[in-house]
């Protein structure tokens, strides 16, 4: 174990290093550039023994990763915003091809106007590609999520790719302490990638051929089932990771929710700021809690219900909006509750769009808005009115 002070982009790079990826293809985009720069350095110094193809677009980055991964080679890429959107077609392709690629995506707003700042619109709009999506809170989690991501994705029962989402600048360019795991210990946790079917001249198969209506349907069902199965796998791997390395992860993380009247539902860096705010509000006598959601896909319906079932008000914070409806995390959370016939006043809070800061003061305003207003609608927190 070695502790270092690094930014989130470097944490992603070191995650790929510790996972001993053998193939990287990437294209630069702010604020992901530090990932490609660091990986270039690690590869050219020989610290990471991998092939790094500097492709001419994000679309080709993902396509090249598909090629390598299909040949049985553990692959990594990183992107952000417009780059992720350009990849969209091949995100579907890589997932349907059941290629367990891991990618870090720096959550950044999409244009126009040009914005390089934090916003989840990029990854949220790729929700239905078949990629697992984890949203992380700090740089340690960036690193850990990449290692766990490979373990979960490469599980023969899962075989779906993982997107590790970190907030632009609030993580990508923020330096924090990250504990790195020794390679030997990582190897005991994450065995080499050895898929049953790959591009192998000794066992030739064609992948992704024309699939008639007679067959296509069941392949889709299988992806859905694998995604559902991944929920347990995520929990198992999170526990194993904790047992081995001392940091436990689950699909959600509940903070002072047991007796809370108002529960905030947050993700990404906002979750950390929300926890800090919960402590301050509790010191002022308010029974507030926070439920951090780590995974948007698969979505932790059961845990969301379990942690929220006793709340009097549920307040979901989104850093994006599905125009004409509401934030995705809000929709997903409500749907989970509905599945359990639970009807609780809910509030959808849109905050931090395009990098607008979500501070302790912002979270206070969110809680106050929920206290003062009728439920079941969305509110724009921090909007100039």
């Amino acid at each position: 174990m070695k502790k270092v002070v690094i930014n989130g982009d470097f944490a992603a790079s070191y995650g790929a290093l510790s996972a001993e990826v053998k193939f990287i293809a990437a294209y630069p985009i702010t604020p992901q550039t530090l990932v490609v720069e660091k990986l270039s350095e690690l590869v050219s110094d020989g610290e990471l023994k991998a092939s790094f193809v500097k492709v001419e677009s994000e679309h080709s980055a993902m396509a090249a990763c598909m090629g390598a991964e299909a040949a049985g080679v553990r692959s990594f890429t990183a992107t952000s915003s417009q780059g992720l959107l350009l990849m969209s077609e091949v995100l579907h392709w890589s997932a349907r091809a059941r290629l367990p690629i891991v990618m870090s995506n720096v959550n950044r707003a999409v244009g126009p106007g040009w914005s390089i700042w934090a916003d989840d619109t990029d990854s949220i709009s790729q929700r239905d590609t078949g990629w697992m999506q984890v949203y992380v809170e700090n740089n340690q989690e960036v690193y850990d999520a990449i290692l766990m991501g490979y373990k979960i994705s490469e599980d023969p029962g899962i075989l779906l790719p993982t997107m590790v989402n970190l907030d632009a600048f609030f993580l990508s360019h923020t330096s924090e302490i990250v504990e790195m795991i020794d390679t030997e210990d990582v190897r005991k946790f994450l065995p080499p990638y050895d898929p049953k079917y790959k591009l192998d001249v000794n066992d030739p198969h064609a992948f992704g051929a024309l699939t008639s209506p007679e067959y296509y349907y069941e392949f889709t069902v299988k992806i859905h089932k694998a995604m559902i199965k991944a929920k347990r796998k995520i929990q198992e791997v999170g526990k194993e990771f904790g047992d081995k390395f001392g940091r436990y992860y689950d699909m959600t993380e509940a903070y002072k929710t047991e007796d809370a009247d108002i529960i905030l539902v947050t993700h990404g860096t906002i979750a950390g700021t929300a926890k800090e705010t919960v402590d301050r509000l509790r010191a002022e006598g308010k029974k507030v809690g926070n439920l951090k959601i780590r995974y948007l896909r698969p979505f932790p319906d059961e845990q969301v219900y379990e942690h929220l079932k006793n709340a009097k008000k549920i307040v979901v914070v989104d850093r994006s909006i599905s125009y004409g409806k509401e934030g995705a995390f809000y929709s997903e959370t409500k749907a989970s509750l509905f599945d359990y016939n639970l009807f609780v006043p809910t509030y959808g809070m849109i905050a931090g769009l395009g990098g607008r800061d979500v501070s302790i003061q912002t979270i206070r305003e969110i809680v106050k808005t929920a206290e003062d207003n009728e439920p079941n609608k969305i509110f724009f927190i921090g909007e100039k009115k």
Partner: protein
């Protein structure tokens, strides 16, 4: 938790100063966080950077609005059009300014307990040939002053952080920090 805000101009190394400060505190056993103001920095433009130092895990990821400590790398930023250097400074906060002036020359000195400290980091940077004569890089020099004034970090940790962070002229940068450590007013 101590929150520090640094003001500088693009090219002076305010972001690196924030990082060195964080690393030094980390070497002293603290939990740390540092980050730039997220913008599209251009040489000469006013920039900000931030450092948090704490005994407990740092969970907040947002800008710093009420700093305990302010650091000003460029004296011309004080009173510059559209910039309120001392905005949000806590009562009894500390301000370290790269300046040839005396602390008492600053109107906010001794108001609400705020203490101003000055150090001629530019002269020290020039003495150690850091940057060029027209654009001295003062970030390492000023961190030495911060160590002295705030006691948040040890000078040994600062020197180690500089050597780990600065790619070239490591020793000269470390010496500059030590120099300011000894000469801050």
């Amino acid at each position: 938790m101590i929150e520090i805000r640094l003001h500088g101009r693009g090219g002076q190394g305010a972001v690196k100063a924030a990082e060195i400060l964080a690393k030094a505190a980390f070497y002293d056993g603290k939990i740390v966080q540092s980050f730039p103001f997220f913008g599209v920095e251009r040489r000469g433009a006013p920039v900000q950077a931030f450092t948090r130092i704490s005994d407990d895990p740092i969970r907040v990821h947002s800008y710093i609005y009420e700093p305990d400590v302010l650091i000003v790398l460029d004296p011309t930023l004080v009173g510059a059009e559209g910039i309120d250097i001392i905005e949000g400074i806590k009562d009894n906060g500390k301000i370290v300014i790269n300046s040839t002036k005396d602390p008492s020359d600053f109107e906010f000195h001794n108001k609400n307990g705020v203490q101003v400290y000055t150090v001629d980091a530019t002269a020290i940077a020039l003495k150690f040939h850091l940057g060029s004569a027209s654009a001295p890089i003062v970030n390492t020099a000023i961190v030495g002053a911060i160590a002295k004034v705030t006691g948040l970090v040890s000078i040994d940790a600062v020197k180690k952080a500089i050597i780990d962070t600065i790619p070239r002229y490591k020793e000269e940068n470390a010496a500059a920090a030590e120099d300011t450590f000894n000469n801050v007013k």
